[in-house]
Symmetry: C2
DNA sequence: CCCACATGAGACACCAATGTCTCATTCGAT
DNA sequence: ATCGAATGAGACATTGGTGTCTCATGTGGG
């Protein structure tokens, strides 16, 4: 009987990721509950988005924890991160565009995750694993961008989900150019 | 007296890129015209978005032409493309998210540009310049993703506009990993 | 100089979505 | 079996944005 808040959030995430303009009613229906019930659990659309943001943030932080970013070579840590972030990629892609739209009052929890990812790139640069002519700020943004792009590529069926980690890690680490001496 | 349609479109693009939910009234104000006048030139919001889409498409096609994608090594052609697409990056980033939101009825003009970019990557693969373990579909999506990410990085002040071509081309071509044998 | 035409401002109806409320129903714990 | 709590359905007012219209203004071309 009682609504599973987590379940509702995941369903809403799946729908909103596909269509960000979905109605509260559509969100409710897709979760198999009534609109009134949805309102009982989330005060309004803003509250729903914020809850989604907290969910995505929590998932990203869990992925960051699981990846053990400060262990081993930085490039291997980055691979672990990409792999563990994969299940959340769709939600993160949605939240990324959502945040870009609402400039200013962005949930500042993202600063923490940004800092951790940025720190990984900085460590890699200091240890000579990552190139230093690309700022860690740009590498961080590119990381998010490729995660989003990969999420859409998989979502639209242009790549299989299982290829997600490989195609992102390889492009982000090695680039598109074929290495001549290899 | 007469409104410069092109000018209005560019102003609208600049505003909507920053805040996609901007009102028709805000769009009009930012262009320095009245809402009624805006409606006289663009039947409605949909028409405005569509006009923006056509503008972005036109600019991208111009950039594709200017880059002469079928001349010289594919990686150099890609560099030319990134450089010539830079002025349109913000608009393209906006249209990209806009299109992802409205699934289905996307302006099919993008298929042409997708095909041209994809063809560049395929040519590069056939000529041994680009690696073949990453599909040209993914490379194309990644190209768009990095263009968008770069546009936001520049927009938010985390990189200078002049660095745009370098940081994107270098990451897309060479990746983040520091080449050991170099 | 004058007239035609585009514009700006504002009024207006309309619509879609939101948020709130009520009430009957149903589920689940006791 | 019973009672309380949560739900679903629907009604309702409200709101913000949209699209249309009118009218006064002013500018530019002839």
């Amino acid at each position: 009987m009682t609504v599973d808040r987590e379940q509702v959030l995941r369903t809403a995430a799946a729908l909103l990721t596909r269509r960000a303009t979905a109605t509260m009613d559509e969100v409710a229906r897709s979760a198999g509950i009534g609109r009134a019930t949805l309102h009982r659990h989330f005060a309004g659309r803003d509250a729903l988005i914020k809850a989604l943001e907290e969910l995505g943030l929590k998932e990203l932080e869990t992925a960051l924890d699981d990846a053990r970013l400060d262990e081993g070579p930085a490039d291997e840590a980055l691979r672990r991160l990409i792999a563990s972030v994969e299940p959340s990629a769709g939600l993160l892609a949605f939240l990324l565009t959502e945040n870009q739209l609402f400039e200013g009052d962005v949930y500042d929890g993202w600063n923490r995750t940004d800092a951790r990812i940025s720190a990984l790139f900085r460590r890699g640069q200091e240890e000579g694993v990552f190139r230093i002519d690309l700022s860690h700020a740009w590498l961080t943004d590119a990381f998010y961008g490729l995660i989003s792009a990969g999420a859409w590529t998989v979502h639209d069926g242009r790549a299989a989900p299982k290829d997600f980690p490989y195609m992102i890690a390889e492009l982000l680490l090695g680039g598109a150019r074929r290495s001549v001496k290899q």
